[in-house]
Amino acid sequence: MKKSILLASALFAGMFAGSSAQAAGRDYISIVGSSTVYPFSTVVAEQFGKTTNFKTPKIESTGTGGGFKLFCGGVGVEYPDISNASRAIKKSEFDTCQANGVKDIVEVKIGYDGIVFANSKKSAPLKLTRKDIFLALAKNVPDPKGGDKLVPNPYKTWKDIDPALPNEKIEVLGPPPTSGTRDAFVELTMETGATTFPFIHDMEKKDKNLFKATTQTIREDGAYIEAGENDNLIVQKLEANPHAVGIFGFSFLDQNADMIQGSIIENESPTFDNIASGKYPVSRPLFFYVKKAHVDVIPGIKEYLGEFTSEKAWGSEGYLADKGMIPMDKKERDLFAKQAKELKTLTMK
């Protein structure tokens, strides 16, 4: 009895001694942020941990917004050093950072991610335009009978939208609103698709809110199915249902090329080269942000930046490309590598 009490108190003492020691300093890099960047930054982190004497960075997949929330919480070991993002930092997030004393931030763009539309190989590949996608998925669309009027989406099959498309029910599996992929998809396809209608295009200047609502609201009548954050699940569902179309990141298409095929968008198929060259229209840049104040406090941040921005990592032949990240061109890479090296502080007006 006494012994066990002694043991328990020793354990406790140890725990708290440990935790206070930890509070005094952290010897590993803490990274948070986008789930899209996660598969890439984890590869770099692993490589970094194995080839240097630093500890392997810890990476949490919190989503871009969640990552900035933690990142901008303040300066100190309890806050992350780096935040991954599948979009550039917003002004509001930047301001929060400043308000919490996170003054100097270094922005590093790392490459691109293609967003693909794909269906099972058991069906024919789809040839779509962004306008088709807007018409298929928006909650309200321009009246098919003509006129500058919005009506609730009447389209039931792809053929209703364009006679050249198959006579199949519209059934799209995609990410939920919390996901960065969804944001990017809405911005890159829905919005662009919508602005092919002149009156919606004009709307942007006249009524920003209406424009946003029109271009960003996805129909809720069952044609768009929120399939959760797990892209593997979407792939499996596509395999089971040849009529459905899925929306996800390029790396999942890359890994499952035997089961699914990417839809051709505006005459470009989602291949590595097409995305890299910018021909394939639906792709977005990926970033990470570094807290400058931590650079000399937490060991290894500079070296991690060095690893990430090295040609063997993010180069066109680098290991990140093997994992499905679309590299930037050489000029851009050199620019951002230089900025990372100099720790160039981000400014925002």
Binding site: A8, M15, K50, I59
Partner: protein
């Protein structure tokens, strides 16, 4: 009694007898069907997990002949040597006919990126290797592994598989020369997480689970039992204790993510404990399991017969002595069972850990309560979400390991109960 030859009661009884037995039979059939259905689903679950996971317990290796070129080891730091270069050189010497840049890249692709770390470790352990030529088995890339396990169909058109025709040819040559083997995947049990499926293992997550559960157990068992004993034996029965009781019962049903939010607010933001550590995770799971343990402990305290309490009190034992000497030993098996069920619950939990940062990519094996760590179910969740196809099998294999742990814990519950149960 008056008419011994004719008893009207027994006639009535006999008339109803058939119906009564029918009802019993019906109920038995229903019960057996329910069990059978449940077993079928269980079997289906196990079958799907095992059938997709058993392959992960094997791993493909390729034999290469490495020349530890002394020219590469001029630097003091052995780790700085160009190990990938050594591997490339040995691949080149095996397939001298491969010359174009693209083909070479495809050729090197067959070997896992982890192979260079393996060489590094070997040289570190045995610097005498430098200058030698060695035959070494190194891990094959996950796509090669998948191909050899039959998960990649070589009859498909080249564009649809991740192994090209040329790579198939090289692999066939290697196989023909006996340079490919499949062995038990020890790395799966001894290494931490990795983004390369062939290198990824569950040891890191297992350690994380261990430390986390250790914290949970060492806090929730004493606190839970003490709380239950106090509430059941000492606390006055009034409105306050009623409110507490209702609250505890409610807490047991609160979605576990709420405990994560609470842990984030209290342990991390207020007490400033380190994120992503077993310390915080254990505390959060303690909060989650406490109500379960308290409820189970109270139930088993309640089931201790009052005659034992009376006997102890009647002889002049104080309340504390009555509880410690008589009630607790009798209630202990039930408390232990409750605790282990709570622990099993905690072992399988991911949602609350998400909030305290334990859903993270962590490669290094944790060595203490304040090292960043993840736990088994989180590892499963992370792998299930990975694009690489080879992680599908890993996911199922990790589920099998988790199930094995759960099974062990529940078996321990049964054993402990048998061991401590006091017969009367």
């Amino acid at each position: 009694m008056d008419q011994p030859e004719k008893n009207p009661t027994i006639d009535k009884v006999n008339r109803g007898l058939k119906r009564r037995y029918r009802a019993e039979r019906r109920f038995r059939i229903l019960g057996a069907t329910a069990i059978l259905t449940a077993l079928c689903f269980l079997f289906l679950l196990f079958f799907s997990i095992v059938s997709s996971g058993y392959k992960a317990f094997e791993k493909t290796f390729i034999q290469i002949e490495v020349f530890f070129d002394p020219a590469e080891f001029t630097n003091e730091n052995l780790a700085a040597a160009n190990f990938p270069g050594l591997i490339k050189a040995s691949m080149n010497s095996m397939f001298p006919e491969v010359t174009s840049r693209k083909d070479k890249k495809d050729l090197y692709y067959l070997i896992s990126p982890g192979a260079s770390f393996q060489l590094m470790k070997q040289v570190k352990n045995n610097p005498a290797l430098i200058g030698q030529k060695e035959l070494i088995w190194v891990a094959a890339n996950d796509d090669v592994d998948m191909l050899l396990k039959g998960n990649i169909d070589r009859t498909r058109p080249e564009s649809e598989r991740r192994i090209s025709d040329k790579q198939l040819g090289w692999l066939d040559t290697l196989a023909h020369d006996g340079k490919i083997k499949k062995t038990f995947n020890t790395a799966f049990f001894t290494s931490g997480d990795s983004r390369e499926p062939e290198l990824a293992g569950i040891w890191g997550a297992t350690c994380g689970s261990f430390y986390t559960l250790l914290i949970t157990l060492s806090l929730s068992f004493p606190i839970g039992v003490a709380a239950a004993v106090y509430l059941e034996e000492f606390a006055p029965k009034n409105r306050w204790t009623d409110i507490i009781e209702v609250n505890i019962n409610n807490l047991a049903a609160v979605p576990s993510i709420v405990y994560g939010l609470l842990g984030l607010a209290v342990f991390i933001n207020f007490f400033g404990m380190p994120r992503s550590t077993p310390l915080v995770g254990g505390l959060v799971l303690t909060l989650m399991t406490l109500p379960i343990i308290i409820i189970a402990s109270r139930a088993s305290l309640k089931s201790v017969p009052p005659s034992i309490r009376e006997a102890a009190l009647g002889i002049g034992a104080s309340k504390m002595q009555m509880v410690a000497h008589h009630v607790l030993p009798l209630a202990l098996p039930g408390m232990l069972t409750g605790t282990i069920i709570g622990m099993a619950h905690a072992l399988g939990e991911t949602a609350p850990l998400l909030m305290v940062g334990m859903v993270a990519f962590i490669v290094d094996i944790p060595h203490g309560f304040t090292d960043p760590a993840t736990v088994l179910p989180v590892q499963i969740y992370l792998w299930a979400d990975s694009p690489e196809r080879a992680f599908v099998a890993k996911t199922s294999a990790a589920i099998m390991v988790l199930l094995a742990f759960l099974f062990l814990m529940n078996a321990a519950a049964v054993l402990l109960r048998k061991r401590f149960e006091i017969k009367w």
